[in-house]
């Protein structure tokens, strides 16, 4: 059996070999410092730095003069085949025009001024740094990325004109410190930076960004002059950003307040939200969302809200919703369509319980007897309760004293209290004639069924037919 250690060792070996192989494929870099004693000038090899008609890089054959494989090992160095991708305006032919101030007076720039660190040894070559440029172009600037807006275009091309940059290069752009500000995402942050210059859009923005980048978030791009001032360049989307909800959206009462916020300042919402993003929840009503822009060409996709219930719809809301729905139906209609209501209030015969918990069938006697909720809001006593009870034999279809209520021998004598307390439950199994057997004033045993709160005159005025069921035409008056 192969041990875990063996597998680990094998994995390490494979990794090392793979990394070594990858490294072997990279062209070797020329070690300037190692050749410090060999080359007295830069332009000996880099003639292009002085004469634009010449090559910037030496021919690799020149290396073989020494590295012939006999006195020195062969080298595989090759000059770059194409220029390094860049958005710099700099060109070496401009160097003769550049000067620098020194204690000794104004001096022309030399190669060492940019490519060797101050005080560094000869041939300790490095790439020119932005700080080197800023030493002359912005001596007050302490950090390259914190340079003022007016300085950027001194050295850099706008992104849309930096054709040599590849998306990977753009994706690797470092973010300036301003982008780390807490409010940078807001209008007071990047919005103020973009529009805070005399130009339609700050030049500093154009160095790294184009209009396509703004469309990642901005639904209101056509309405924003600063965004429209930017060029169009799909490569700008290489800088990956994600539209994140602002802090206000995470506040617990945001759902209840966001309508008022929209009415107060629709512009803010319209930055990230399309009309359709409102409709993700507010399906039945398009009145409020009409203040926002509809999605379309030239606009960002914007926020994609996910429909979720507000906090008020939490624990036990299904049992509490009737109060709120009855008082403010328009509030419900903000998110719900009528089908939502009918799902429970007009349930299908073949539906499993939706409003009720699973297995409610076994619990329903207790819930129904004391009306945990009003069953009649969703179920018709005749078609729902009585049909099912009749099918199960749980109806009075013969003599009243059948013995079904056998928990007490005297139930019939004392059933009045149960009936007045749970009359709806009684009607799920009993019909009127069952009661009229005893409670009718005409042909029955004349037991008076009227109890507390009974207003005979009022009911007779409203519907005397009800009275005739027991009293016939001789309806008594009080």
């Amino acid at each position: 059996m192969i041990s875990r250690a063996s597998v680990s060792a094998l994995a390490v070996i494979v990794s090392v070999v793979a990394v070594g192989g990858l490294c072997a494929q990279q062209p070797p870099k020329f070690d300037h410092l190692k050749h410090a004693g060999l080359f007295p000038t830069c332009t000996g090899c880099h003639q292009g730095a002085e004469d634009p008609d010449q090559k910037m890089w030496p021919d690799s054959a020149a290396c073989a003069t020494c590295h012939d494989g006999t006195t020195r090992p062969l080298v595989t160095w090759r000059p770059p085949e194409e220029a390094r991708p860049s958005n710099l305006k700099f060109a070496h032919e401009l160097v003769p025009l550049m000067t620098r101030e020194t204690p000794q007076g104004t001096q022309e720039l030399s190669c060492q001024d940019c490519h060797i660190a101050p005080g560094g040894p000869w041939m300790a070559v490095r790439r020119a740094t932005p700080e080197g440029c800023l030493a002359c172009h912005g001596p007050e600037v302490k950090q390259h990325l914190a340079a003022p807006d007016s300085l950027c275009q001194t050295c850099h091309l706008p992104l849309v004109r930096a054709a040599s940059l590849r998306p990977a290069d753009i994706a690797g752009f470092p973010a300036p410190p301003s982008h780390q500000a807490p409010n940078f995402v807001s209008r007071a942050g990047h919005g103020a930076l973009a529009t805070g210059t005399t130009e339609p859009v700050a030049a500093s923005c154009t160095v790294c960004h184009a209009r396509d980048f703004c469309l990642t978030c901005h639904v209101d791009a056509p309405e924003q002059p600063a965004i429209q001032a930017l060029g169009v360049d799909a490569r700008s989307q290489a800088i990956a950003v994600r539209l994140a909800a602002p802090p206000s959206h995470r506040e617990s009462d945001f759902l209840s307040r966001h309508g008022g916020m929209l009415r107060a300042d629709a512009r803010t919402c319209a930055t990230c939200h399309t009309r359709e993003s409102c409709l993700a929840c507010h399906a039945p009503s398009q009145r409020v969302s009409a203040t926002l822009h509809s999605s379309g060409e030239g606009r960002g996709r914007g926020a994609q809200p996910v429909r979720h219930p507000p906090e008020s719809h939490g624990e036990n809301f299904v049992a509490r919703h009737s109060q709120i729905a009855a008082t403010t139906p328009a509030s419900c209609a903000g998110c719900h369509v009528r089908t939502d209501c009918l799902e429970c209030h007009r349930p299908a015969a073949a539906s499993r319980p939706g409003y009720h918990p699973a297995g409610f069938l076994t619990l329903h006697p207790a819930a129904a007897y004391a009306r945990q909720t009003s069953c009649g809001d969703c179920h018709n006593v005749g078609s729902f309760c009585a049909t099912c009870h009749a099918s199960a034999g749980l109806v009075s279809n013969g003599p009243l004293r059948s013995g079904y209520h056998d928990a007490s021998r005297f139930f019939v004598a004392g059933h009045g209290q149960a009936a007045r307390q749970n009359l709806e439950s009684c009607t799920a199994c009993h019909v009127e004639r069952d009661c009229l057997t005893c409670h009718s004033a005409v042909g029955g045993r004349r037991f008076n069924p009227h109890g507390p709160g009974f207003d005979a005159n009022r009911m007779r005025r409203k519907n005397p037919e009800m009275c005739t069921a027991c009293h016939g035409t001789a309806i008594p008056t009080r």
Partner: protein, 503 residues
């Protein structure tokens, strides 16, 4: 109004509003929801035997030769008892088509219809809801403008007086700036809780008294909504057109107050003008926070009966209840909940020395939901309920596995002890089940479930027969729609209208 008249009304509306441009539907949504269920069970059958055939056992009452406890009354030659009923098989299949059409030539004009087709593949009289075979839940033409919404056809109005269905016309006038809304409607009414008129034979399985004509319904409502307060007043009257007598007349008022953030006070009451008494009422104070939700409240419940029945004359008494509930996210992934309600009926004034029913009761429940892993939810609860008529003590649990948002599998189990007060019936019911929902595409949803009910009767005679049963169900939801005017909308909108299960 019968369906033909409604269609005619809808057609007239289309002609009136749609004459300015082509009358061709530019947008529609059609949701077909088909469900089937299979149930087999047996109930009880009343039987009797001559007194002379009964057996007497020392220490117990008379029984039948088969061992059923029988009820014999003095002076009656026969004793009665309940024996197991025949097996009943129910196989209801329902298909509900929910259609919305708009783009009819005038902005704001639309037509809505919800039609349900029901077929019973088992015994015709076993399961409610498939008779008649075609039921129009809603079917109306709507014209919605900024300040008005008008509907013509079969519609349902929800208010604190219930969900009132009718065939007729309704209008809502609103002033959004002031938060004022006024509503009125008029039509031929439907029975409560169902899309059928009160004259339908399907509502009278026990051959009780039934009205010969549909009632006329007239209702009005007014609401005022501001940031801290919502107020609503509703009035509803139903009249028998044959006699001009009232079927019902009620008024209701409701209010919601939001005095401070996270706190809401809601309440309301209804008054039965016809009977001259207060109906149901409730008030609740709710605190809502992301990790804590709590409410306390009081309520009163009195059933409402139409005046074409005699039930209102029997003076149903209300009960008064106090309640409280709380839900807490105790730790990450764990939510705990609890609720309690205690209630007591008003004095029924029917005291007899030989028998008294309970006057009060209580309900409580404790439960928790735990999400151990993403896509896995475990829920368990225990509840007790004890009051007049019946009680229950039940433990229930579910395990929900949702590996993707397109598939959900739920395993459930419960065990309940459920005694009855008025019948000797100590029984224990155990339920196990599985439910699976699959959404292979945004326009297709499939579901299937199977539940097994096993009942154990604790009864010393032959009446302790089981009520065991299987329940099988299946569901297919298909969504169709044209989106010419809604291109680019999020999927949640393109799929509307949708039910609760679409959330």
């Amino acid at each position: 109004m019968n369906p033909r008249l409604q269609l005619a009304a809808a057609g007239v509306t289309l002609l009136l509003f749609g004459r300015e441009s082509r009358v061709s539907a530019q947008g529609y949504r059609l949701r077909l929801d088909t469900r089937a269920q299979g149930v087999a069970y047996r109930g009880v059958t009343l039987d009797s035997i001559p007194v002379t055939d009964t057996l007497s056992t020392p220490g117990s009452g008379p029984t039948s030769p088969e061992g059923f406890a029988v009820l014999c009354r003095s002076g009656v030659a026969y004793c009665s008892f309940f024996r197991p009923g025949p097996w009943r098989n129910a196989g209801p299949l329902t298909s509900t088509a929910d259609l919305t059409v708009w783009g009819l030539g005038r902005p704001g004009l639309s037509v809505h219809a919800a039609v349900r087709l029901g077929v019973e593949f088992g015994s015709a009289d076993v399961w409610p809801g498939t008779n008649p075979a075609v039921q129009l839940l809603e079917g109306y033409a709507e014209y919605a403008a900024t300040r008005t919404t008008t509907r013509l056809g079969r519609q349902v109005v929800a208010s604190r007086l219930g969900t009132t269905g009718f065939d007729g016309a309704g209008m809502v006038l609103r002033d959004a700036r002031r938060g004022v809304e006024v509503q009125g409607y008029l039509g031929w009414g439907l029975a409560r809780g169902v899309a059928l008129p009160v004259t339908s034979p399907a509502l009278n399985p026990l051959d009780d008294f039934q009205p010969r004509q549909r009632q006329l319904v007239a209702g009005a409502g007014a609401g005022w909504t501001t940031r801290p307060v919502d107020l609503r007043l509703d009035y509803l009257r139903e009249v028998d057109p044959g006699t001009d007598h009232f079927v019902s007349e009620r008024v209701g008022v409701g209010a919601t107050l939001r005095p401070i953030p996270r706190v809401q006070l809601a309440g309301g009451a209804d008054y039965d003008i016809a009977a001259g008494w207060w109906g149901s009422a409730e008030a609740s104070l709710t605190y809502t926070q992301s990790k804590v939700q709590a409410s306390v409240g009081a309520r009163r419940y009195r059933p409402h009966f139409d005046l074409w029945t005699i039930w209102g004359a029997f003076s149903p008494v209300p009960y008064h209840a106090a309640q409280a509930s709380v839900a807490v996210t105790a730790i990450r992934r764990l939510e705990l909940r609890g609720r309690w309600e205690g209630y007591e009926f008003e004095e029924a004034e029917t005291a007899t020395p030989l028998f008294n029913a309970k006057r009060g009761g209580w309900r409580w429940e404790l439960g928790g939901t735990y999400h151990p892993l993403t896509g896995l939810t475990v829920d368990a609860s225990y509840r007790e309920e004890f009051g007049p008529g019946a009680g229950v003590a039940a433990v229930a649990g579910t395990i929900t596995y949702e590996p993707t948002r397109h598939l959900t599998v739920v395993l459930l189990g419960s065990q309940a002890t459920r005694p009855l007060e008025f019948r000797f019936n100590e029984a224990e019911v155990r339920v196990v089940g599985v439910d699976a929902q699959l959404e292979p595409s945004p326009r297709v949803r499939l579901g299937a479930s199977a539940d097994r009910y096993r009942e154990i009767h604790r009864r010393p005679d032959a009446g302790a027969f089981d009520w065991n049963q299987w329940r099988l169900s299946a569901r297919v939801v298909l969504l169709f729609g044209s989106s010419a005017d809604l291109r680019g909308l999020p999927p949640s909108i393109r799929l509307l209208p949708g039910g609760r299960s679409e959330r």
